[in-house]
Symmetry: D2
Subunit: 180 residues, 4 copies
Amino acid sequence: MNDQETLSTSTRWLPEEELSFVRERVPTVYVEAIPVRTDHLGVVEKVGLLLTARPDGTLTRSIVSGRVLYGETVREALWRHLTKDLGPDAEPLVPATVAPFTVAEYFPTPDRTGFTDERQHAVSLVFIVPVTGECVPSQEALQFSWMSVAEATSPLVATEMSGGQDRLITMAMAHVGCLP
Amino acid sequence: MNDQETLSTSTRWLPEEELSFVRERVPTVYVEAIPVRTDHLGVVEKVGLLLTARPDGTLTRSIVSGRVLYGETVREALWRHLTKDLGPDAEPLVPATVAPFTVAEYFPTPDRTGFTDERQHAVSLVFIVPVTGECVPSQEALQFSWMSVAEATSPLVATEMSGGQDRLITMAMAHVGCLP
Amino acid sequence: MNDQETLSTSTRWLPEEELSFVRERVPTVYVEAIPVRTDHLGVVEKVGLLLTARPDGTLTRSIVSGRVLYGETVREALWRHLTKDLGPDAEPLVPATVAPFTVAEYFPTPDRTGFTDERQHAVSLVFIVPVTGECVPSQEALQFSWMSVAEATSPLVATEMSGGQDRLITMAMAHVGCLP
Amino acid sequence: MNDQETLSTSTRWLPEEELSFVRERVPTVYVEAIPVRTDHLGVVEKVGLLLTARPDGTLTRSIVSGRVLYGETVREALWRHLTKDLGPDAEPLVPATVAPFTVAEYFPTPDRTGFTDERQHAVSLVFIVPVTGECVPSQEALQFSWMSVAEATSPLVATEMSGGQDRLITMAMAHVGCLP
């Protein structure tokens, strides 16, 4: 197998210093998923949020979020991050279309779009993902909670989120017609 | 309970002659659903089509389709027609958003949009609906078949459909990125 | 020309009593348009609202809204209502796709969807329409105003709207990424 | 001004060797635009395609396509590539929403999605962009042509395109309801 084939067929993790080099030079592709519970008519009843400890020790609530690797499709990245963050029994229903409901553009400074990520310029494809199974926060998350739509879009929960993700929750609820 | 309350809280069937009167005067609201099977990544693998006998005795393949009744929400109409046509164990996943992936406008003559319905002018909200359960054609349908995407979008199957619904299948497969 | 042809090729207005008969029996198809001004990058800068006197003499702000007639396409209805309400020089840019950004379901009572219309059950296809020309309120409207996004989504303006249309403004601004 | 500020506020071009390094390690963010002419009702009448000489000397038809730079928004990248490829008087109408109508995932090999780009793994946000002004192909393109929808989706034109972009044209026409 030659190098070209290796390139094209395998996803690749990057050593930390290479990732830093890359992040300073091009936008990074992200996928984000807002987990929801729906009733049999498709009406969103609950929104799922992770509780995570940030590097500085503070707690933050967040949606499912992560990089698309080289060689990985958007669907594969969505599946990988959903099952990594919500556990193997979450049974997320990845949408039939790869068109995201919105695109969130994160910049190191808040003056561009309001979405911020001090590490990088990230272009994130954001999806609303119905989840039907049992969710167990794995890896870095401390907790995963299902909240009512009213709670998930409340000012209190907004203060517990960062980078502008609270705005994504509101945008998603507007999209599904569930704005309180 | 006064008349106004009756009006507003109950769905209503119409006697045939009233329905005819109405159909000659205003567009009729329809919902249509294209049943699909997806894999765990959301990729559409199969398209479901009903086989029905038309009034003139010929057979036709069709998607799930029906009127929205007075007092009924779009979601309720979708659920009613899906479970009526595919059986009570179909477990359709009604989308979280009520925005259809397209709107099909049926006219008595083909010169307006290419979608035709000799009975009426219908404005149809069309949805792609993943179906996870077992489908048993109920009521008027003779058969329900899962087909590959290639088969469902083939010229042969197109000739078995009517009113322009074959074009809806192609549009749906384009929407989910599964055009052959 | 026979009756069938008449039926299929001409749009039709209804005498008031026939419209009442119909409105009590089936949902009515509506189109609604939220007029916006965008900059060269497509960012929404202004939202346009009509000021209208209601039958009871009170004033209300509203978006462009009206029935789809028998025989009329959704695009034709959008164009007709936009040019009727905003004047012949408004130059609205009717979207290339007929899929609305959302569907608003109006019911006589508020307990179904939050969108209300005491006259009828209406299913409304709602579009965001960039308008590039000069707007002169025609017919029933008293005034047409361009507002900033912050003003159009403010609690004050919300109280000046009716039927839940303020929620449509918020949903539209969420859709275009302009939530304040 | 410190380094962090430089990072966050300016877009950046990359030397060729750095771009190569990056392209082998992460997916590249692209925007693509399918230029269309619409009538006053928004119906697509023409599709615009560039004619370009490829490095090997062969000619290829293509849509507007290019990288999103570090520090650049999706809208800015769309505007930059549209005005670069179609000239300063093209007057493209960048959509009000940043949600693309589809996402095209290009891989070095065709076995992943059917979209190919031998140079890289690119994740492309694809938009349908009405263009109202005069188009003059600038820079690398030899010619810019408006074609009928039938011609743009014909097998002949498909053979003149590369990387799977012919499929994007078909998907776009399906999206706007203009499939022949």
